[in-house]
């Protein structure tokens, strides 16, 4: 396949069957490989849409500085787009994210400001907002509340899935900004009566939830509960186990959040099987495993690997 530039190659990712992880011929799992995007994650879709939208609205002019709270993938995608379009990028990133993400951001020429580990991405959002207020010339696309993030999935991910899997009964994806689930979920629910839209949310160690008070909690502005039909919380041990299953059973080298998504999808699959219902379950592989090698996710026993992830933002 031929494209005029890297940006033109965003999306159009393959949907592959997972016959060995599927519980039976009537209940099938399908993986949408978002690691096949230009910078290796689903975030290329949102980044490209958010930048294009800001350019259309006249918010971004050549030489502009963008600012974004990110735990990695969105920053890497934005850094690539910024390179090609002539913008500067400053990322606010929690210090407890994998070393590879930071290295990639710096390779692309982005500046990284670290936010404290405690509080996770909440702190990164808070600091980015503060910086944006102090520097009115900077442009914060703000993935957690930018409609173009969800629209990217409404206009691309959703239609791609329906074209490849018209018989889809379930869509399962990770919950972060909610952009993937909201955009894809809305599209599928409009087109497929009864389709289920399931969120898999990483459950971190206590450090990440260590807020000073409950009012500091954070729900992304994009999040609309009515789009979802279910939401599962998946811990590090289950996510790691399923990430290793993807590799060992289906040959798929995926990031840790994809293990959480597979765990939720297998739960949904087991319910369908028990109820004697047909199910074609599409799950979204957000990225490959490369950026997580340094976390030790693939080394030693599950218990050892899970212990290493304690306190880390692993998804």
């Amino acid at each position: 396949m031929r494209y005029d530039s890297l940006l033109d190659a965003v999306g159009g990712t393959p949907l592959i069957g997972l016959p060995r992880l599927s519980p039976g011929p009537g209940v099938r799992l399908w993986a949408k490989l978002e690691d096949r995007n230009p910078t290796g994650s689903v975030k290329d879709r949102a980044a490209f849409y958010m930048v294009a939208s800001a350019e259309r609205d006249g918010l971004l002019a050549p030489g502009a500085t963008m600012l974004e709270p990110t735990s990695g993938n969105t920053g890497i995608s934005l850094a690539m787009v910024a390179r090609l379009r002539g913008y500067k990028l400053i990322c606010v990133m929690p210090e407890n994210t994998s070393a590879e993400r930071r290295e990639l951001l710096e390779l692309y020429g982005a500046s990284v400001i670290s936010s404290p580990a405690a509080g996770g991405s909440n702190e990164a959002v808070r600091i980015a907002r503060q910086l944006a207020a102090e520097n009115p010339g900077w442009v914060m696309l703000y993935q957690y509340g930018n409609e173009a993030n969800a629209r990217a999935h409404y206009e691309t991910t959703g239609p791609e899935l329906l074209t490849d899997l018209p018989e889809i009964t379930h869509f399962v994806a990770g919950l972060g900004t909610a952009g993937t689930l909201m955009g894809t979920g809305r599209y599928l629910r409009e087109k497929v009566p009864g389709v289920q839209v399931i969120a898999a949310e990483p459950r971190y160690g206590e450090l990440v939830y260590g807020l000073r008070n409950m009012d500091e909690g954070f729900v992304p502005e994009l999040y609309d509960e009515s789009v979802l039909t279910g939401r599962f919380s998946v811990g590090a041990a289950d996510s790691l186990r399923r990430t290793r299953d993807l590799l060992a059973v289906e040959g798929l080298f995926a990031g840790i959040s994809s293990g959480a998504v597979l765990h939720a999808a297998l739960g949904v699959a087991a319910r369908a099987l028990a109820a004697g219902e047909r199910a074609d379950i599409a799950l979204l592989i957000a990225d490959g495993g490369w950026k997580y090698l340094s976390t030790g996710a693939y080394d030693g026993t599950l218990e050892e690997a899970a212990a290493r992830l304690e306190g880390q933002l692993w998804a």
Partner: protein, 92 residues
Amino acid sequence: MAIEVRIPTILRSYTGGAKSVEGTGDTLADVLTDLDSRHDGLRDRLVDDSGLRRFVNVYLNDEDVRFLGGLEAPLKDGDTVTVLPAVAGGRR
């Protein structure tokens, strides 16, 4: 009807530092009322007049109770309820 309820760090001042406490009841609402009789004020931190507070997530055996009936979610012996503050999480 013994239900294990896991408490986040930030609310352990209500449970004398305990990471998990046991409650009884047929629904989440019943269990929270039961817990409040021994851990005064805990329920108020989780629930307001309109239901679960915005920044509070409650999971029944790892599934968000908002999709299982909310406060009316039915519970059975041996279930685990986990309370967590809503956070932005990672990856993105």
